[in-house]
């Protein structure tokens, strides 16, 4: 289980996260939504210890992430797959090497790595792309390789950072299907950061809405859709609420 407890993070004079408190239940897909620049990706990076909170703490499986020693942090990271917004594939490695890199750290031998890489590439429907280099792939293919790299580790948690941003509608649907399939086949708890409503409604079990550094609302998809919070309604409607007198976005 992942828990954010009063997590605050500031960059220079900008308070990105103020006091984020959120519990991410096991075995479900939780979507973290919010306007661009509200700190969704920053929150995600706290889970794997890429960032440390200024205050508060992130707890994963009972371990406070920023208090872990080096080996414990490495052990935690082996349980987490991270899919980056722009895939973050290693330019100098081909697709198969990208997917297999993390597996070398798990002590698998060469044959086992090859099998796992092939399985992971099959899951993202890129069976024949193993020898190609990231520069030869489209944006959608790169993101799928990013997912293959994350799921190859057979992680307990998968974190997706803006998985559908910049993709065409057909590729977006394919990505949504892929996230659902990855969760179903691997049983991993997923956290998806996005501001793509249709994607969120497709993949989410729960949605948390981040606004001005705090979780404004967290609940099921149905609760989110029927929210009475005017900020959430504005976000869903895609325009400021004026008739209710709530005003536009601050």
């Amino acid at each position: 289980m992942i828990q954010f407890e009063q997590v605050a993070k500031r960059f220079g004079s900008r308070q990105v996260l103020d006091a984020v408190t959120l519990a991410i239940p096991e075995g479900q897909t939780t979507v973290l939504m919010g306007y661009s620049g509200t700190g969704k990706s920053v929150a995600l990076k706290h889970i794997v210890g890429l960032l440390e909170p200024d205050a508060g703490r992130v707890v994963v499986d009972g371990q406070v992430v920023h208090e872990l020693g080096y080996e414990e942090l490495m052990e935690l990271r082996r349980r987490i797959g991270y899919v980056f917004q722009f895939a973050a594939l290693f330019d100098s490695l081909n697709v198969a090497e990208n997917v297999g890199l993390g597996l070398q750290r798990q002590g698998l031998d060469r044959d086992a790595i090859a099998v796992r890489v092939a399985e992971s590439l099959r899951l993202v429907e890129l069976d024949d792309a193993g020898v190609r280099y990231p520069a030869e792939l489209s944006g959608g293919m790169r993101k799928r390789v990013g997912i293959a790299r994350a799921i190859a580790l057979r992680p307990r948690y998968i974190l997706y950072d803006e998985p559908t941003t910049g993709l065409d509608p057909v590729t977006t649907t394919a990505m949504n299907d892929l996230m659902i399939r990855a969760r179903r086949e691997l049983g991993a708890t997923s956290v998806v950061v996005t501001h793509d409503l249709s994607s969120a409604f497709t993949v989410a079990d729960r949605i948390a809405f981040l606004y001005e550094g705090r979780i404004r609302q967290a609940g099921t998809v149905a609760e989110f859709r029927e929210s009475s919070d005017h900020r959430v309604r504005e976000f869903i409607a895609g325009r400021p609420e004026t008739e209710s007198g709530a005003g536009g976005r601050a």
Partner: protein, 251 residues
Amino acid sequence: MTESVAHSRLHDSLALSGRWVIEARRALGDIATWRPQLVPQMKRLGVDSVPVALFLAVFTGMVLALLSSYMFTRAIPLYFVGTLVSKAVMLELGPVLTGMALAGRVGANVAAELGTMRVTEQIDALETLAISPHAYLVTPRVLAATLMFPVVTAMAMAVGVLSGWFTAVNILDLSSAEFLRGAQQFYKVKDIWFGLVKSASFGTAVATMGCFQGLHARGGAEGVGKATTRAVVLGCQAILVLDAFWALVLL
């Protein structure tokens, strides 16, 4: 206010340096991660740098021979051209000029590569895969540069002396025997290893600067450009400081 900012920066720099030392020690022990990268980096940073180093050495040797013959006219026997060329190339110009050339090539290459990896989140991706960037990226580059700078420098020394010899014989009407007499007259074995020890330290400094600047690049293409420039400038400065240090300590 200014004092407190300076104090804060000093504190941050010391903390960062301390973290690098801890990371470097840990990474050195992670042999399984850096060993497969070492030979490819030795080729990239060392073997691929040989042409530029030798080009520089050819002209260094030639100019040294011509300049020394100009200085030695009548007052000093001309065979001292061999002395000056060999001493200058082995003790100073070989290691330092090769170091400078490689600071441009290797320092910029490493900083640009790691800087691009940083701003495209590839470094973050490595960390999430539980792979230390210091073990996977920094250690093999620093080790490769430390091992290969002396090799490239040794080749540059040889070519520089040969170039001076060739120039002396063909342009200055000095015989081979006279050039060799001059080269041997004040020769010490220390001349060679002094230059090679220096060049190894230059390799360590240049690669470390490149890696440091690359890993701390920020802000997209502009940030990578700044990191690359800083890596080259600091690498060259480090070479000059180390050159003076070794002259004080070893000579």
